[in-house]
């Protein structure tokens, strides 16, 4: 039963594109149509979509880097919240936004190392480990929270010359503050690293078959520690984005479940950075549309629009279970035991 290279073309295209890709194509066509109907509203919706999708894509990158190396991370929420908090505090006390971003990322990485410690060395159940991080983050941010602080303003948009003047694409993609650009760049960087470099090959092997990796001399523990720590950095960056770029201040519990929605984005994106980006954009678009409906005067109680991201997440997770052969890395969630 060897794979043949001569599968019908349609099947191969479908294999690449799949349900998600089809949805994306439909969405793009719909956007173009609406642009011609009402360009202003379309642009507003698209802008909102990108804004919503940024923390989701960063969270998804965090989740997928961890799972690709075999470690489940449901503590993305806690890592985001902590990154948001520390980034915010640093910007308040130093006035230096760049330093604050680094602080947020570093906080995420620190919690990533903690997760690695729990999962790899202590061999704890990884879901409990993630829960510990979430509860700890709520506790620590609540404990050290001081009300009434505000930053020196947030990061501003940096329009890219010429490109930002293009219709539709211009305002949507080329007129953003730095972290939004960074998130998109990171998607491509991560995709390259994961699938085209030696580091990526080894990372993936550790997540699929750690013993095989061990027998060829790869240090499974080191790979997991490093990758999970780096992954935490993405979540920290997402938090920093929330306080330093999107909102401009910190509120307790402000991540509001985004870290978990990011997991659905990761699954829907088939554990690949590009796939997750597409999924994040779709999610962002859906979320932007619901707020748009409110503006348009469609009378939906605010609790229902508030529910929407969570309902969408459940629907996505359920449907991917039904329709996709969506499979996480084979060894995910199992602590690696060396023998002897």
């Amino acid at each position: 039963m060897e794979a043949t290279a001569s599968e019908p073309v349609t099947k191969r295209i479908w294999g690449r594109v799949g349900y998600g890709g089809t949805l994306l194509i439909i969405a793009i066509i719909a956007i173009l149509v609406f642009y011609f109907i009402d360009s202003l509203q379309t642009e507003a919706v698209l802008a909102s979509a990108i804004r919503q999708s940024t923390p989701l894509i960063l969270g998804a990158l965090c989740g997928l880097l961890g799972e690709r190396t075999g470690v489940i991370n449901i503590g993305i929420e806690g890592q985001m919240l902590s990154g948001a908090f520390v980034g915010f505090l640093v910007s308040v006390y130093t006035g230096n936004l760049v330093l604050a971003i680094f602080a947020g990322v570093l906080t995420g990485m620190l919690l990533g190392t903690f997760l690695a410690l729990m999962s790899v060395t202590l061999k704890m159940d990884q879901i409990i480990g993630g829960t510990v991080i979430n509860i700890l983050a709520i506790g620590l941010t609540g404990f050290f929270y001081v009300g009434g602080l505000s930053t020196e303003g947030k990061l501003r948009a940096i329009p890219i010359p010429f490109l930002s003047d293009l219709p539709i694409v211009g305002k949507t993609f080329f007129n953003w503050p730095p972290l939004t650009y960074l998130a998109i760049i990171l998607v491509f960087v991560m995709h390259y690293v994961l699938f085209y470099t030696r580091w990526g090959l080894r990372t993936r092997s550790v997540g699929e078959h750690p013993r095989a990796a061990d027998t060829v001399g790869i240090n499974v523990f080191a790979m997991r520690y490093i990758n999970v720590t780096l992954a935490g950095g993405f979540a920290g960056l997402a938090g920093a984005f929330l306080t330093l770029e999107a909102v401009g201040s910190f509120e307790r519990g402000m991540t509001n479940g985004r870290g978990f929605v990011a997991l659905a984005v990761m699954i829907f994106g088939r554990w690949t950075p590009l796939g997750a980006w597409g999924a994040a954009l779709l999610f962002g678009l859906a979320l932007a549309l619901t707020t748009q409906f409110q503006f348009m005067g469609i009378n939906i109680p605010h609790q229902f629009t508030g529910m929407f991201p969570y309902v969408l997440t459940i629907v996505v997770v359920a449907l991917t279970g039904l329709f996709g052969h969506f499979r996480p890395p084979a060894a995910v969630g199992q602590p690696y035991e060396t023998e002897g």
């Binding site: 794979a3 085209y196 001399g217 084979a330």
Partner: protein, 508 residues
Amino acid sequence: MVQSNGKIVLEARGITKRFPGVLACGDIDLVLYEGEILALLGENGAGKSTLMNILYGLYRPDEGEIWIKGEKVQLQSPRDAIDRGVGMVHQHFQLVEVMTVAENVVLGSEIVRAVDRLDLRAANKIVRDLSQQYGLQVDPESVIEDLPVGTRQRVEIIKALYRNAEILILDEPTAVLTPQEANELFQIMRELTERGVSIIFITHKLKEVLDVADRVGVLRRCQMVGIALPAEATEQSLAEMMVGREVVLQVEKSEAQPGKPVLKINDIRVCDVREHEAVQGLSLEIREGEILGVAGVQGNGQREFVEALTGLRPVESGSIQLDGQDITNFTARQVIEMGVAHIPEDREKHGLVMAYTIANNMVLNSYYEQPFSRHGVLNQEAIRENGKKLVKEYDVRTHSIDARAGSLSGGNKQKVIVAREFSRPIKLLVANQPTRGLDVGSIEFIHKQIIRQRDSGIAVLLVSAELDEILSLSDRVAVIFNGRIASTMPIAEASREKLGLLMAGAEA
């Protein structure tokens, strides 16, 4: 057959390894000459894999020294062993299913261009070159999960060759091959030795040792019992060295007295987990009081076939009849209640709840019936009494019936499963690889139990990858290939060669 020039290429002295609560490997000496094939013989659980894992750097010995090419070495990890020219082909392949052949071969020793960029084109080329050089046909760009077992083994060998292995350790390599494929492997092994590679070849199969080895080291209970020369040894003498007592190599059984057909399978089609058709129109009949052995290489639909039979997998088309009643697509419980006993292939995953006590495991198929429960309430006394009774009857070695099943040895685990399955009235016994990984004593016990069932009028379906087991136990033999029965014959007409050809898909 002896090619070596007497130069010692690997030497182990006084290797000792202790495991908590289990057998210790004591004071093992081993010498490997350049260009020879050294077989390491021992029954399952004798410590062969442990010793080899030490030589490969996966385990660290508690005592002893290892010398490679005249130099004393400390192997902290497989990296060290690889660097010293030791390569290993594991019994359970260490291949990443979703990656390609080339990716698996170069993993850990990848070819890189600037900025850590993987050079897969170079990798593909190297794999192609190696496969041509050594006659191991393999397509570097194919994905492992699409490859049959025999091909995967070739990938493992290429992995070792890519790393310039001068010492090659093969762990039970023929477990997944037909007799013909095994012979091909032996040919490859000889060619490798002609190029200066030295081979250690682990097995529990006596015939193979006599066929291909230059010398044989026999391990018993992880102690080195002695070195034998195949030229002077016989299967009988080797078996006795292996087990330490006189061994009866042939199973004693009386002539079968088959009665009416009990199981009729008509043209069933079953899909596997990836929705491919694994069983493609299989028909079979088994009569009461006979053992039908189904021989075949792993991956030809046996798993799906057995699961369909026992209600664990849907039958897409065709029918199954037990004693005249249609049981196609009955649930697992219904099948059990119809009188089908199942000894599953993976005893630890499917046959037992490792964390449960022995007594609790004994009622896995009957807890919901009297006397073990009434109106939904369990009767712990009855469960324990039943456990005690069965442990005695089947000679399960344990210090307490409250012990967890996970603490038992492999043979005793299998005894628990057998005891449980036979404690209900049954018409059909489905035994899937019933003696895999067991020591000789346990193998004898299980075989006796199977024959006992057969003699009391039960129909037995024996699925096994061990041809010797099929040949010694069966009254009739069927060969499964590509999801169909290739041929059925009475045992008198069956031979290794004939079965081997059928297992490989050839006409016999």
